[in-house]
Symmetry: C2
Subunit: 233 residues, 2 copies
DNA sequence: CCAAAAGTGTTCGAATTACACCCATGA
DNA sequence: TCATGGGTGTAATTCGAACACTTTTGG
């Protein structure tokens, strides 16, 4: 047996790019209009093929960077889709990655780009191939992750209010959460620093800003404390 | 842009085959001795390349069947490994799958096979390439799954005792569990049927056999009850 | 002064944990 | 009869869930 007789396949990476719209209080996906056949003109995830000189992870980072200009976001692998007929143009084995980004970090850079657009997950357009299943699986990953890792903060600005944080979790879980219980739990983690500054756009009283203390999280992790934000019903 | 200029890659599947040794009370892996270069002669996961006429899932099932003769076990995808240099022989993108099987279902068929052998996860031989990382990731998947799905029963014979079930969970979690609390929780799920028969090999008194009632599990799932066997410390 | 959003504690029930002795039987 | 492993219940605690009013301030 040698490696020569073995069939080779196109390997692709598709990125589910999650953002959180702090105004609409909705999780959104950054989609692109596909500019080549098959399915040209339809909306799709940001994707591309894996080249010879890059790993899967590197391909995912490249695709993310090309669309968003962000370099310090590291996509997480979700699942690999390998049905024979999933892409009618050719057999393509595609690995999906998801990334969490702050919408404000990039909305200027894609502002003029008519081929990229944010869509709320509850109102996605029709997607090509099996991209809708990729989205479903990535959402499941996100919901699982968000319970055991402080990834929610990657979707929010540096400074955020408790109300915004809770709105985010409600958007992810698709469920109303009790305000007092939520704040109690968050505060008990001691991972947030309350700033002196207030956000005063959405109320007259104003809401204090908080900041996620990443160093404290790393510290707790080293000491064997695990993040847990399971808001079970 | 056309699909013609794009580099194509070898796509492989590697299977982490979990078994549970009811005597040693250990989770084991079925490994094979690799019979081609590179790394010929070393132990490795059961693997193979993805052919043109099969999906990734089908490739995993085929590889599992070729080694074990089992048809009604469906491997679950774990993770895809795509570093450029992971296989020194050629660039191979490999998706790992894990499967849970009953050791007794197959130990006769691999009994004479000197190129396949069960190893306890705590005493694995050196594995080729990044197969040790595949094992780590699959174990993490298994530990996560076992909390929310009744997959443990796939590792046990049809009839098993409470002690055996508890030993299994202790082997998976690598932690001692309180006997009374464990049984209380198991019984409260109402997913087990107590049989009249006793296992009398390991004690004079004998231990009652139980059977997992799959239909009842399906029934509960339909009614919105979720399996949960989280033995948090 | 009032509308609108932020912020704050307590109580109750359920679930989890810790813990120690009796039972059945083959050798 | 005794050594061995199987089987059982209760009390203490913790954790999650439910729930309503006060505060601030810009208009």
């Amino acid at each position: 047996m040698t490696y020569n007789d073995i069939p080779r396949h196109l390997a692709a990476v598709d990125c589910i790019i999650f953002g959180y719209d702090i105004i609409d209080k909705e999780i959104k996906l950054l989609l692109v209009r596909r500019n080549f056949e098959p399915a040209k003109g339809l909306w799709s995830l940001a994707g591309g093929f894996v080249m010879d000189d890059e790993s899967l992870d590197e391909a995912a980072s490249r695709i993310l960077f090309n669309l968003t200009g962000l370099r310090n976001v590291f996509p997480e692998q979700s699942y690999t889709f390998g049905n024979r007929e999933r892409d009618p143009g050719a057999r393509v084995i595609s690995t999906s990655y998801y990334a969490l980004i702050k919408i404000l970090d990039i909305d200027h850079s894609i502002g003029g780009n008519k081929d990229a657009e944010w869509f709320p997950i509850s109102g996605l357009p029709q997607l090509i191939f099996d991209h809708d299943e990729m989205v479903r699986k990535a959402l499941a990953c996100l919901r699982r992750q968000v319970k055991i890792n402080p990834v929610g903060f990657e979707l929010l600005p540096e400074k955020f209010t408790m109300v915004q944080l809770q709105d985010l979790y409600e958007a992810i879980y698709q469920r109303k959460i009790d305000k007092r219980n939520f704040r109690k739990k968050i505060v008990s983690m001691k991972l947030l620093e309350k700033l002196d500054e207030k956000e005063k756009l959405t109320s007259k009283k104003g809401a204090f800003y908080y900041r996620f203390i990443k160093e404290e999280y790393e510290n707790q992790k080293r000491n064997g404390f695990y993040f847990n934000l399971d808001i079970g019903k």
